[in-house]
Amino acid sequence: MTGAAAWIGSNGVALVLAIPFASAVLLLFLRGYRLSARLNALSSLLTLLASLSLLAARPAASDYLLVDDLNIVFIILNAFVGFTTSLFSASYIAHELEIGRLTGGHLRFYHAMYQILLFGMNLALLANNIGLMWVAIELATLTTVLMVGIYRTHEALEAAWKYFILGSVGIALALFGTILVYMAARPVVGEGPNGMVWTVLVEHAASLDPGLLNLAFVFLLLGYGTKVGLAPLHAWLPDAHSEGPTPISAVLSGLLLNVALHAVLRFKLLLAANPEAIAPGPLMAAMGLVSLIFAGFMLYPRRDIKRMFAYSSIEHMGIIAFAFGMGGALANFAGLLHMTMHSLTKSAIFFAVGHISQAKGTQRIDDIKGLTVSHPLLGWSLVVGVVAIAGMPPFGVFMSEFLLVSSTFARAPLLALLLVLGLLVAFGTLMVRLHALAFGEPVGRNERVKASYVPMIAHFALVLTAGIYLPAPLVAWFQHVAEMLH
């Protein structure tokens, strides 16, 4: 038994990548819905366990893969939400099969793609090579494009196409930035693969050409920022979220956006280590603030429930980018915490919304009323989720937003005012919408659905706990990472 534990400990990184990949291949050939849904969940659970083993035994960085304090937070969060979403997906997809929106062939494809997506995201997070990171993010993007279009309706295809084109442009810009980083590194670290290894780059960051680095960061921020969903390059996000299957909306919002953000943070670290390069923070903070305010005002006119929460994701990614852009131990801490809380809360909201739209047969906000009366458990889950995401105490989101606002007030009061403006606008809109959605007389269809409440409740419990009490080791960990991020 200890032998097995030791083996897992020493091969954690390989397992985090191999499990999703192997299950993807297996799922592609597996018929039968129950079996593949279970295998999907099992594989996600094993990936989660393997990722937890990274906490105990951390392998040394190689030329291609790296585990450090920064990406381990992302990986564990990724694996956890990946696992709970696979549970939600099992009940959600069962309903879609029943009503004939999906068929057997689509299903095999769906499950295989789900695992490939997890593989791509883990690879992007673990990559120590900026070229490999780029390839992994492209892979993750392509799989989500295919999944967004899986319903084959006109709207779904249009959304997939839009996502595809904007994603490709983003990815092309990111590649140009990657090439520029290599060119900046070449005179210092020499020709060949070393010029793309992140740890080598950071080590020599101070002597890299600052002009090229600046230019590279602009392209990388625009390129990967497209993936993060930062305005003005967010146009793909609402469509992709509203037209695809809801588990994919949950994974997109909760995970893929974070993966792209992780890439931006890596390059931010690189620039911060070079004294002559521009400070990357203000650029990120500006993009974040614009996204926050823009998305805050865009929330109100939305008539589609998934689309509304997609705009809310843009808003929160804006907050996170702003926090990391402000920098400093406190703001970075708030950013990390907010990212974790947002992933948990938003994916749980999408779980609830997925079942709600199945029960009501529509995603139109006007046709959904009185959920707490017609579907008490789902309705109240939505209430909890929206209250949490809007930043009300005692949930974790409140804490991170409070930290961010107070630290910003101390350093840049004017920016803090704008931040608060964005937060309040979003808060007001969400409350107005929530009131109509959750309370009053139910209208329209009110079917029962077999919903999976466990993932949803688990997420909310975590967010609530984090709002009341953060365990000391976690705080210490986040503080450490926050300092590492400058």
Binding site: S168, L180, M183, P187, E191, G195, G211
Partner: protein
Amino acid sequence: MERLAFDVAHLLAGSIVLLSLMLLYQDRLYTLINVFAMQAVVLALSVSWQAWVQDAPHLYLTAAIALAVKAIVIPVALHRMIRILGIHREIETALNTGPTMLAGLGLVALSMAVILRVTSDADILAREDLAFALSVVLLGLLTMVTRRNAVSQVVGFMSLENGLILAATGAKGMPFVVEISVAFSVLVAFIVIGIFLFRIRERFDTVDLEALDEVRESRR
């Protein structure tokens, strides 16, 4: 010898920029595709030249991929597709040629100014190559923005990608160049198949996002 290597690389990269500018004012789909195919041929030549100058045989593979996929397979496929979709007579209602060309020239000037200023101590071949590559990337973006038709947007995207290949091959000793060109070929193949399967004709976006949202939501 050094001088010659430099001049030829310059000539080829410059021709790619010129062809990118020519893409801007093509208002027929067929000619648009032909100009793009020409650009791919010149790109293949430029990459082979870099392979020879840098003594990097793997770049010949990249050149071969550019020639086979982008100069032959994709253009032929797009020609057939246009016939089948019945959009060969369509005239693009892009912006007027004049302003588009002015914007294009502005972008070229911008990328020259930016790159030559920030890379003052890099070696001269690499930096001029990079300046050309950035122009091609920006012109590709401009082509995508000014077009309404999905096919011509894809052509714009592919010319943008030509700029990336130009930059990657100009960066001496860069790893993964071949892999990246293969990855992009797969991406482009996906896009082209996507257009064909789903008969996407109109462009995906309007400048006015708000209006688009309204239309889409009221359709439900």
